[in-house]
Symmetry: C3
Subunit: 340 residues, 3 copies
């Protein structure tokens, strides 16, 4: 079997060429066609080229197969090819797509060519294999573990631990007392471990409650760009393993998020709410504080959850959008419901 | 005609003094009054001074004319002055205001006095006329074109192009593969080209889909502070010419935004949605993924669009705010509608 | 009375040990029990230890008193202890908690061990007692007053004033013309003084209105992580004394926020809205532009205010969340209300 072949251009983009035999082996698929056919890129099926591989992840894309020029198509093993194109049949084409996306990623090192930070203090807790890039600033009470990557202009505050293989992208801030597990990705301009919103009212205005807890993050967690995750007030904020947050998500102090929750952009979880495993949450939604949400709950977009949820299921609270004149009437009618 | 006269104070603020003749010429207006009257600032009509110029952009401000002390007033050419103040009549006073705001802006160079970054690598693709300020870090596979300005502590990642005359403000991040056109403004702490939210579920948790597309931004685009704009998954995210985004807007991967869309603060557009020209969107609103929105659509504030829109118009989905006791009754009644 | 005793560990965390006599004196409480009992930490009542002090801030926590191992409990002076634990009785246990949280905060200096920035310009308006940390960049037309702290990689733009004792955390940006009072806290990655969203439509697209006003912030204000606060267009944006904003709040240009407003995460206030004192606002809510909101208004979470509010009270506009099948019916019924 021909080994994959790597090329690199002057702009630091690499290109790897694989034979279909290589690919079928990597994605555990059954090849129908030419094992020596070479491919050098991954493309959507509507825009494939003679050297690209494409995939069909749902029935609605099957209509594009006829006109597709791709060197090969990854399809579900339930599909019966009826032409002489090259096919790789797999159990789950979308999962295969994820693997292919990594194989054909032309940028291996996001910070190639960026200088490392000068040694600014003699912190014994920065592992020799960790990379700390220019402009990044690490408190001398933080620990940076094996193979971690601290991107340019990142700030790592006191009492933080960045786990093995975790990457923190440019301009992110770990305020203090953040413990991150292995192989996490923190995208740009995230703030982890910020002060929670805690104040005691008094005759002299609000008195700040110092936030003494930690933010504890599991393994394989990803934070999208611009997320803000507060550390705990007295107890800790906890983010389970495998959690994926989209951009601009806010998690307040003392929240517990179970493993494998996936939360879309711009959601907010208010303080002390405890959420089970496998939550899925559409964008712009929220959960108010001090609730309990069981495992396997799906919350629609632009929905606010105001009561604890004890039963798995699909919960939605979207005000339907209408043309303005119709909405004006609905709106009046809803107000009238409140006067009865 | 007297030329404008520039003064500068010790705090780096400049002040330019114009005669009304100068101003009338610049804003293409018809002057009624003293061409040699000097003005040195722009003020709201309610708070004008003897050396300021003010403007009346709608009828509701006409009531302030009587008591106005301004050296001159810019009014619509349909207005008939009936006193002996100085007036400049123009077709569109609000547009004239925009021009005046630039003429009287006391800060010409936002980064005056900030040092440039030392040359950190010999990147042949940074134009000699571009300015890269202290703390900014530019990947050696990025291109910075003529007259571009990279503000302090900005990060420009691999495979990015910053177009002619584009300014990127402090602490913003271009993660990777971002191509920005001419004369754009990226305000502070924006993240462009972040990883889209793409994961394939598997028995071992979510498998990350590497995001291989670009973010392509047209000319004259402005991003407000703290926006997050993902690059494409396989195809590209595209932002048309003249698009204006307010603060904290989120645009997901593979979105296409047509020319001259204007989106208010905290909106979100989910993945793969295609939007035509001239969208206007109130704050805190969203559009779910994989929709098509035609040209010339107006979406109200705090509204979620869940279906494609084929007809131009005004779409709203706001739950009316009420006093709590009335809302409680409306809320129960809405739930009952769902049980019938 | 024994003085408090301070210990410091190798990770820069300090621990102060207080006697109950000390504590009762500091929080103005009446001690019932052993004045010489020592405590070294503050804990929630459910997770107390033999050397911790806990508190009971509401009746619902009284059930934990029986099993509590804490060295002492802070309770309301209306509570009658009926066991032989140590108690400190105070008027307001939650306020006492705020004071205790500061006393037991193990991190006194968030930037201990971080180097100061080299002197990058000879700005006469940086007070000798101010600290400017590594990577921070200060315009030479900015003023940094007594005891102010400018965190790592912060940008302070032209025409800004940072007041006495105010702390700005890492990676925040003050774009321009921001005047901040005394003893404020700006958490990480905030943007203050950004350009407001102002454009005049024209046949050539939107023409930018230069924003010539300031952002004026009172004393004792706190901005949560990732907030964006625009400066004024012609007049100023004003944030009153004692205002507390949670994470990712957006305040548009020309807004006036009265003293002691408290706004939860992800809210937005649109341009030119004037808000009185003591507003409380739940997360994900908004107020549209050009409104007036009187003093002492409470706005629920995920609510949009579209009309001025003249009467203090509690206003809510949440679409109730339901199981998907019920919501689908409610949604159809609401649309039908709009067709009548």
């Amino acid at each position: 079997m021909l080994p994959p072949k790597q090329l690199q251009n002057s702009k630091g983009l690499s290109k790897t060429i694989y034979s279909l035999e290589n690919i079928a082996s990597i994605i555990s698929g059954r090849l129908i066609g030419d094992p020596n056919q070479l491919v050098d890129t991954l493309s959507p099926i509507q825009h494939s080229t003679h050297s690209s591989i494409s995939f069909v992840s749902s029935k609605k894309f099957e209509k594009y197969i006829v006109g597709c020029k791709a060197a090969a198509l990854v399809v579900a093993d339930s599909y019966s090819p009826n032409d002489n194109k090259n096919y790789i049949l797999v159990k789950d084409p979308y999962y295969a797509f994820a693997i292919l996306s990594k194989m054909f990623d032309p940028i291996e090192d996001m910070f190639e060519g960026i200088e490392l930070a000068p040694i600014i203090n003699s912190n014994p807790d920065v592992d020799q294999t960790a990379k700390i890039y220019q402009g990044a600033i690490v408190s001398d009470t933080a620990s940076i573990l094996r193979d971690a990557v601290i991107g340019p202009n990142v700030f790592i505050g006191p009492n933080c631990v960045v786990g093995e293989g975790t990457i923190i992208h440019a301009n992110s801030s770990l305020m203090r007392s953040v413990v991150i597990g292995k192989n996490c990705i923190i995208q740009n301009n995230c703030i982890l471990g910020s002060d929670g919103f805690g104040f005691a009212p008094s005759k002299d205005g609000y008195q700040k409650i110092h936030q003494l807890g930690k933010l504890i993050v599991g393994d394989n967690v990803e934070f999208g760009a611009g997320c803000t995750i507060d550390r705990g007030a007295l107890e800790d904020t906890i983010i389970g393993n495998g959690v994926k947050l989209d951009n601009q998500v806010h998690i307040a102090h003392n929240v517990v998020l179970g493993d494998n929750c996936a939360i879309a952009a711009k959601c907010a979880i208010a303080g002390s709410t405890k959420i089970g495993k496998n939550l899925q949450m559409g964008g712009l939604s929220g959960v108010i504080g001090h609730l309990e949400i069981c495992d396997n709950v799906f919350i629609g977009a632009h929905t606010l959850i105001t009561k604890s949820i004890r039963e798995p299921g699909n919960y939605v609270g979207i005000m339907p959008a209408q043309e303005h004149k119709d909405w004006a009437k609905s709106s009046v009618a809803i107000r009238q419901l409140g006067k009865k």
